[in-house]
Symmetry: C2
Subunit: 318 residues, 2 copies
């Protein structure tokens, strides 16, 4: 599988720019004061379907030639990629087949269904998901769109950093959450081509630190029972994203669960933005490493805003 | 007390434009589909101190002449006006004296204190608040800035609708929450002068409907044990705001508590915006009166985003 080139990102941006929201960049003087740095938040929580995943999904869907597109697209996911792929397919007028664990929260099932996708439920085990997906693909001929081990998806995610750097004077650092690594590798490609001096840094939960361990050892590491409130980051790097990250990323920092919740609360209370826990991991990393980040100009991509409002981590503090 | 003229609003906007955030206007295709209308949300939840109140407070504070300003400003409030006045005074470098009920939530006490105001606690009764305020005013000579029965405050609030109409093609309706009526009367003055054909409509909780009753009877009505989740709208109209509203407002609609919570949840889930319950009353009125609002182009001012995250009205729905 080929590593996306800068030309692929430029083509992706032309392809999807009329489909995606050009999301705003927000700042917060209180958070700047707390952290001693100057942070610019790219608000992909305002992206269609509520996360940056719509960029990659729509680039993949609208890159298919007419013949391949006819049978539709398929993926297994219970999260933001599923909703993003479902909407992108609906915009192109082709079927989307989503394999979801039957244990997925109703709100996620409803979101995917509301975009008109056909959902196949399976047991909540990787093996069941993969065999269900194989069955769906054989039955329908749909093209499998992996959530991140896919050059078109990575090129699409790379457009978030492209928009950001087009309108924000050169930051010292761009800091993005890393789960499967689609956004981090896309961001690294963009930064290397638009502004090579920028440090691109990944932010990962300590409790799901496979990217950190892979980056430090130079060898792709398996996940070790990840367990974090940042449910969008439970996935692990793929060969393609690891190769890009290894070569183009400056470092990966980890943050603990308490910092993630504290960062999420800061963003909610001070910025009035609904962001999911995975989005808050980047700010959590800044809070835990003030000496490194102080005095720096930092871009953070707030990756999404899909949270279950009936189940929030904020407890009564009086 | 004089009714503010258009000239006063224009002067207010010049006076405060470098102090306040020029807040963005958001739309949401899902909410438009639900309601059958086209709604433009002016996001005053992104205003400094988290509510539109900072417009009126800063206009009042920066209108004082140097002599009057020296002794500072005072008010009694446990809510957004207190925080707004405290920050405005701090920006001008003068003292702010805030009388708050000792039962106020800690988060509100902390917010006011963080802007450097001097807080006087009193028993949570109107009489205690008024006598505490008199004591503070006598002791300090501070100027009393009423949260809405004040022409400078009303002129400041009127600038939100001015910004909105400067950048949104003429709506059919502007719909704003009404509590004490400062925002509604300011909005009515702006609309009458910038775009006289617009229907300006107030949105009030059924459980705190003194403005509705006053408007319908033509006589200022007392509050009747108001009890609503929209805690910013527990106040009742003043002689000044009632006079403006009676002459310039098209109608007042009320919404029930369930609709207010449903509207708040829609804004949180679909727009990823943290807005307080009082902000959601306008959308709640649209949800309850679809036949009236369908096909209309509507401007709504989202008045604020200060909520206690430890105490939200969203219950587990599975």
């Amino acid at each position: 599988m080929d590593i996306p080139r800068w030309k692929d990102v430029l083509e992706a941006h032309v392809r999807i720019s009329s489909l995606v929201n050009h999301t705003p960049v927000f700042t917060c003087s209180t958070i700047n004061r707390f952290t001693g740095s100057e942070i610019f938040f790219k608000c992909e929580n305002f992206q269609k379907t509520g996360s940056f995943k719509y960029r990659g999904a729509s680039n993949a869907v609208f890159s298919l030639n007419a013949d391949d597109a006819r049978a539709g697209v398929a993926t297994h996911s219970s999260g933001n990629h599923a909703a993003a792929l479902a909407l992108a397919a609906s915009k192109r007028g082709i079927p989307a087949h989503i394999v979801m664990p039957d244990t997925s929260p109703r709100v996620k099932k409803d979101a995917v269904a509301s975009y008109g996708a056909e959902i196949t439920f399976c047991a909540p085990l990787l093996e069941a998901r993969e065999s269900s997906l194989r069955n769906v693909a054989e039955r329908t001929g749909a093209a499998f769109i992996h959530p991140y081990n896919n050059p078109k998806v990575i090129s699409g995610q790379a457009t978030a950093a492209k928009e950001f750097l087009e309108e924000t004077q050169k930051p010292d650092i761009i800091l993005v959450p890393v789960g499967g690594g689609g956004l981090l590798s896309g961001t690294a490609i963009t930064a290397a081509n638009m502004s090579p001096g920028i440090m691109v840094i990944g932010a990962e939960p300590k409790n799901a630190d496979d990217a950190y361990r892979s980056f430090k050892t130079g060898v792709l590491q398996p996940p070790l029972k990840p367990n974090t409130i940042a449910d969008g980051l439970l996935t692990s790097l793929s060969p393609l994203t690891f190769e890009i990250i290894r070569k183009n990323v400056y470092d990966i920092f980890c943050a603990g669960e308490e910092s993630i919740i504290r960062a999420m609360r800061l963003i909610w209370e001070r910025m009035k933005l609904i962001t999911e826990p995975s989005s808050a991991v980047a700010l959590a990393v800044v809070l835990e490493n003030k000496e490194f980040f102080t005095g720096k100009k930092i871009g953070i991509i707030l990756t999404g805003g899909n949270v279950d409002l009936g189940h929030l981590p904020f407890t009564r503090t009086g």
